[in-house]
C-alpha cells in the first residue's frame, strides 16, 4: 500500500503539451478516479505514474519515495488495461502466475496465490483456457487477477470496463468496489463513465486539456463544482446553461426570458452564465411567477425516469429530468420552468463558479 504524490508533472509529445504541471496527492488506500473528456491526458497521467511514459518535467513519488526515474518494472504497481493485454499464448493460470515465475517465487507459494486469486474472482474453472476462449467479462477478471496476484502497493486501471456491455459493467464495478474494500490497496482508476466515477471514487480528479480542473469527493464535485467545466461534466443529462447579463442601472441579473435575479456581484465575479441541473427544473404553467418561459419540444420515457426538452430560444434547448411522467404537453405548447435559488449556479467570465450566496438578492418577478 502506498500514497502517491505528483509534483508539477508535465508531459509533452513534441510541441504538444499533454500534461501541464499536475500537482496531486493521493492518500494511502484511497480510491481515486480520473475523469475527463477524450484526449485530456488521463491515460498519459496514469502511464506516467506507472513509469510507462517518462515525464518531461516534475516528480512522481510512490510511498514517499521518489520514483521519477525508476523503471515501471521496479515500481511495485499493477496495471489493468482497457484491452486486458492478456498473453494470448498462455493459459489463464500462466497468465496470472507468469510474473511470479519470473521473480522465482516458490512453486507452492505461486499455487497458493493463484488459488486465492482464482477463488476471489471466481475464475477457478477457467484456469486451463486460453484468453481467446474467454468472454470479455472473464478476460477482465483474469486481467484483474493478474494484477492482484503480485500483491502490488498500487493498482492502476485504465478504462478497464469500457469494452463490456452495460450489465457486465455494473457487475464488475461492484466487484472492483468490493475488491478495494477487501484489500484496501490504493487504486487509481481512469474512466469515461460518470457512473463509475461517482460510485467508485473516494475522490474524483477531473482533467481537461492536461490540467486538473478540480479534485474532490463525488458529492463535493456534484454539489459545488469549481467551474463551469466541472459543472457541465458531471451529471447526466448534463447541466443546463444560459447566458446572463447584469443590468448596470438596476443591478439586476437578466437571463433567459422570465429569469431575473438580483445580484451583488461586481468586477470579475460578475456572472455571465447560469446553470441549472435538469432535475432542479419543474415544468409549470406558462406565465407562472418566477418561472423561465419556453416551448415544449418532446418527452422521453425511460421507464425509471422521464426526460423532457424545452426550447428557450432558437439556439437553446434545456433538459428537464423527473421521476414523474412529463408527456402531458403538446409540441410547441408554451410552458414555464420552475426553479429554486438553492439549485442555481452562476459562473463568471473565466468560467469560475460565483457563490450564489454572495450574489443573492430578492428575486423580482417580471412578467415578460
Amino acid at each position: 500500500m502506498a500514497s502517491v504524490t505528483l509534483k508539477e508533472v508535465s508531459k509533452s509529445f513534441g510541441a504538444f503539451d499533454v500534461l501541464q504541471s499536475i500537482d496531486l496527492t493521493i492518500e494511502d488506500g484511497e480510491f481515486i478516479v480520473f475523469v475527463g473528456p477524450s484526449g485530456c491526458g488521463k491515460s498519459t497521467l496514469l502511464r506516467a505514474i506507472a513509469g510507462l511514459v517518462p515525464v518531461s518535467k516534475g516528480d512522481v513519488f510512490i510511498g514517499g519515495e521518489q520514483v521519477t526515474d525508476v523503471p515501471a518494472s521496479k515500481r511495485g504497481i499493477a496495471f489493468v488495461f482497457q484491452s486486458y493485454a492478456l498473453y494470448p499464448h498462455m493459459n489463464v493460470a500462466r497468465n496470472i502466475s507468469f510474473a511470479l515465475e519470473t521473480a522465482r517465487m516458490a512453486k507452492a507459494e505461486i499455487r497458493q496465490r493463484l488459488t486465492r486469486v482464482a477463488d476471489m474472482l471466481k475464475i477457478g474453472h477457467l484456469l486451463d483456457r486460453r484468453p481467446k476462449q474467454l468472454s470479455g467479462g472473464q478476460r477482465q477478471r483474469v486481467a484483474i487477477g493478474r494484477a492482484l496476484v503480485s500483491q502490488p502497493q498500487l493498482f492502476l486501471f485504465d478504462e478497464p470496463l469500457s469494452n463490456l456491455d452495460a450489465d457486465l459493467r455494473m457487475e464488475m464495478r461492484f466487484e472492483i468496489a468490493k475488491l478495494h474494500a477487501e484489500i484496501g490497496t490504493t487504486m487509481i482508476y481512469v474512466t469515461h463513465d460518470q457512473t463509475e466515477a461517482m460510485t467508485l471514487a473516494d475522490r474524483i480528479v477531473i482533467l481537461n486539456h492536461g490540467r486538473i480542473e478540480q479534485v474532490g469527493t463525488p458529492r463535493e464535485l456534484y454539489d459545488r463544482p469549481a467551474n463551469r467545466f466541472v459543472a457541465g461534466f458531471l451529471g447526466s443529462p448534463r447541466m443546463n446553461f444560459a447566458p446572463v447579463h447584469t443590468d448596470t442601472s438596476s443591478g439586476l441579473l437578466h437571463g433567459p426570458s422570465g429569469f431575473v435575479f438580483a445580484t451583488s456581484g461586481t468586477g470579475s465575479s460578475q456572472p455571465v452564465t447560469l446553470g441549472l441541473r435538469p432535475e432542479a427544473l419543474e415544468i409549470v404553467e406558462a406565465g407562472t411567477a418566477q418561472s423561465i418561459s419556453g416551448t415544449f419540444e418532446r418527452a422521453e420515457d425511460l421507464g425509471y425516469e422521464h426526460i423532457a426538452y424545452v426550447r428557450l430560444s432558437d439556439d437553446l434547448v434545456w433538459t428537464i429530468r423527473s421521476t414523474e411522467p412529463l408527456s402531458g404537453h403538446a409540441r410547441g405548447q408554451a410552458v414555464g420552468l420552475g426553479w429554486q435559488i438553492k439549485d442555481l449556479y452562476l459562473f463568471n467570465e473565466a468560467g469560475i463558479r460565483v457563490d450564489v450566496e454572495a450574489a443573492r438578492g430578492p428575486v423580482v418577478a417580471v412578467q415578460s
Binding site: G51, L52, A72, S73, K74, F81, S83, L86, F98, T102
Partner: protein, 291 residues
C-alpha cells in the same frame, strides 16, 4: 446454399488451376516422364524407356551427392544466420527512432537487386588482387596478401553462403518485422509493469508470439535456398565445391544434353525439396490455425 458457395469458389479458382496445370503440373509430369527414358536434348522425340536406370545413375554419381551435401550445408547455415540476424535487426527496427522509415527502405536494397548483379559485385569486391575486401583486410593488417575467396576451393562455399546472407537477410527482416508489429504493445507493457525483465519478455512473449511469422519466413527461405542456382553459378561456375542440386541437374540436362539423367536429377531435387517442405510445415504446424 453451401453447395452453391462451394461451386462459386471452384469457379473462381478455375483460371488459377488451369494456369498452374499449364506452367507447373504439365512440365513436372513431362519431367518425371522423361526421367524414365534415355532421351537426349538434341532430339527429344526419339527415345525408349529405361526403367529406373537414370535414377540409379544419378544416385551412384558422387558428384550428385556432393551437390546434395553442398546444398544442405548452404541451406542450413545461410537460413540459420539469416533467421537470427533477421530477428535481431527486426527487433531493432521495431523500436521507434528517427529515420526508421528510411532505414527500413534502405535495408531492402540488397534484396531488391537481382542475385546475378549482387553476385558479380561481390565477386569483384572479393577479387584477390583488385578486390576491396582484400585491400581493406591487408590495410587493417589482418592479411599479408589477398585471398582468392571465390577461387579457393576450400573457401568458395563459405563465400557463397556469406553473399547469400548479405542478400537475403533483408527479406527475413521484413517478414519477421511484420510479425512483430502484430503483437500489441500493451502486452509488453503489462509484462513490464508486473516486473518481468526485458530478456524474459523477449524469450517468453516476443519469441512465441512472433514464431508463426518466423516459421513462415524460415519455410520460404529454406525452399528458396534448396533450389538455389544463380549465386553459385555466377560465383563458382562448375566448381564442385559449391555445386548445388539445381546446378547438377542443369549440367546433366544442358551441359551433357542428357535429358533422361537430367530429368531424373530434377525429379530427385523435387522429391528432396518436397520432403523437407512437408517436414517443416508439419514441424511448425503452419497448416493448423494458431487458435
Amino acid at each position: 446454399m453451401r453447395n452453391r458457395e462451394t461451386r462459386t469458389a471452384w469457379l473462381f479458382l478455375l483460371p488459377l488451376l488451369v494456369a498452374l496445370a499449364a506452367v507447373a503440373v504439365w512440365p513436372l509430369v513431362r519431367n518425371v516422364y522423361f526421367s524414365f527414358t534415355n532421351a537426349f536434348l538434341d532430339n527429344p522425340s526419339e527415345y525408349s524407356f529405361v526403367g529406373l536406370q537414370n535414377f540409379i545413375t544419378v544416385m551412384e554419381d558422387p558428384v550428385f551427392w556432393g551437390a546434395v551435401t553442398n546444398t544442405m550445408i548452404f541451406t542450413l547455415i545461410s537460413v540459420s544466420f539469416e533467421t537470427v540476424l533477421g530477428f535481431g535487426i527486426a527487433l531493432l527496427l521495431h523500436r521507434a527512432f528517427a529515420g526508421r522509415g528510411l532505414v527500413r527502405a534502405a535495408i531492402l536494397v540488397p534484396w531488391a537487386m537481382p542475385m546475378v548483379v549482387s553476385a558479380k559485385i561481390w565477386e569483384w569486391m572479393l577479387n584477390d588482387q583488385f578486390g576491396l575486401i582484400n585491400k581493406a583486410l591487408i590495410w587493417l593488417g589482418f592479411l599479408d596478401k589477398g585471398i582468392a575467396w571465390t577461387a579457393d576451393s576450400s573457401l568458395i562455399l563459405g563465400t557463397v553462403i556469406f553473399i547469400d546472407i548479405w542478400v537475403t537477410t533483408p527479406f527475413m527482416v521484413l517478414l519477421i518485422l511484420a510479425g512483430l508489429q502484430l503483437i500489441p504493445e500493451e502486452i509488453y507493457e503489462a509484462a513490464e509493469v508486473s516486473g518481468v525483465p526485458a530478456w524474459k519478455r523477449l524469450w517468453s512473449i516476443t519469441l512465441p508470439l512472433a514464431a508463426p511469422a518466423i516459421g513462415v519466413a524460415v519455410l520460404f527461405r529454406t525452399l528458396d535456398a534448396l533450389r538455389m542456382f544463380d549465386l553459385s553459378y555466377v560465383i563458382a561456375a562448375n566448381n564442385e565445391k559449391a555445386m548445388t542440386m539445381s546446378i547438377y541437374a542443369r549440367d546433366q540436362l544442358i551441359g551433357f544434353q542428357d535429358l533422361g539423367v537430367g530429368s531424373a536429377a530434377s525429379t530427385w531435387v523435387f522429391l528432396i525439396v518436397g520432403l523437407i517442405a512437408i517436414l517443416i510445415v508439419s514441424l511448425l504446424r503452419l497448416d493448423r490455425s494458431t487458435a
